[in-house]
Symmetry: C2
Subunit: 165 residues, 2 copies
């Protein structure tokens, strides 16, 4: 199986689309995997690791309403992070992650392993809820893998759309 | 030997100082290592992976003069990135990396493995030039390790300063 960052490189190395990331629970893993590929600077604009709520608000424009009423671990926050990253990084497509990697930080309604991933394009944003298992490392690595796969699926769709029109 | 991110956690878990990152060639590795520690959200504000020059200018405030005259791979750029990250992330201490991880991207005056690391505090910013060897992965991992060690040294100094005054 081809890792998604390599499949993305094959699709994007000519510079047809640019990408960016907004990461909370994965803490930079998604950006690190994307930029592990030589030549990725052609299409990776950059990423924002928004670990604190302040960074989510200041750098990604996540609203106080989302952060206070729904919390940073919510699909709405993931969607706002991805949309904010598109704007801040001037990227065509942006992916976000937010969740509870554990072992601390769980609440009654938000257990360890609850992660939201979202991908934003000019045509809209799709969020997804994940329930991951394992230790902190397993959860963050699975969240990064899922985020990269979601990014790849969306990039394929965007490129297909462009070919059709 | 204790990894620097664990030593940083021991020093900072009580929340006395906050930290942030601005990464180019390490692409998120420094932030990923800092946030691999449970409880790091107490002191990691976040990070900016500024892979493109546009991201370096827009998110970190690196001047056009630095980017055009000295280039993104320069000590001046590393210093501006660290200082920009402190402001953007509202962090007490910020570390930056910029360099040529290879295998492409080298020029006559800037060989593969040339990396600059800088650490900014309210009292000033220190830059350092590194000459690293190995493949892309070895260079980025060594750059991340050096950045984390530099951050740890600076944090120790800051905490000592605070104790003295």
């Amino acid at each position: 199986l081809t890792p998604p960052e390599i499949a993305l490189h094959s699709l994007l190395h000519a510079g047809s689309l640019t990408i960016g990331t907004a990461e909370s629970c994965t803490g930079g893993l998604v950006a690190a995997r994307l930029t592990s590929i030589s030549g990725s600077s052609k299409y990776v604009q950059g990423g924002i690791v928004a670990y604190s709520n302040q960074a989510k608000a200041d750098l990604l424009g996540v609203s106080t309403e989302i952060l206070q009423k729904l919390g940073a671990v919510s699909e709405e926050c993931a969607i706002a992070m991805a949309e904010g990253a598109r704007v801040a990084l001037k990227a065509d497509v942006a992916v976000s992650t937010t969740g509870i990697a554990g072992p601390t930080g769980a609440t009654e309604r938000k257990p360890i392993g609850l992660v939201y991933v979202a991908v934003a394009t000019s045509r809209g944003t799709q969020g997804r809820e994940l329930h991951l298992t394992g230790d902190r490392r397993a959860i963050t690595e699975a969240a990064a893998e899922t985020a990269l796969e979601a990014l790849l699926t969306t990039v394929r769709g965007e490129l297909a759309e462009r070919t059709e029109t």
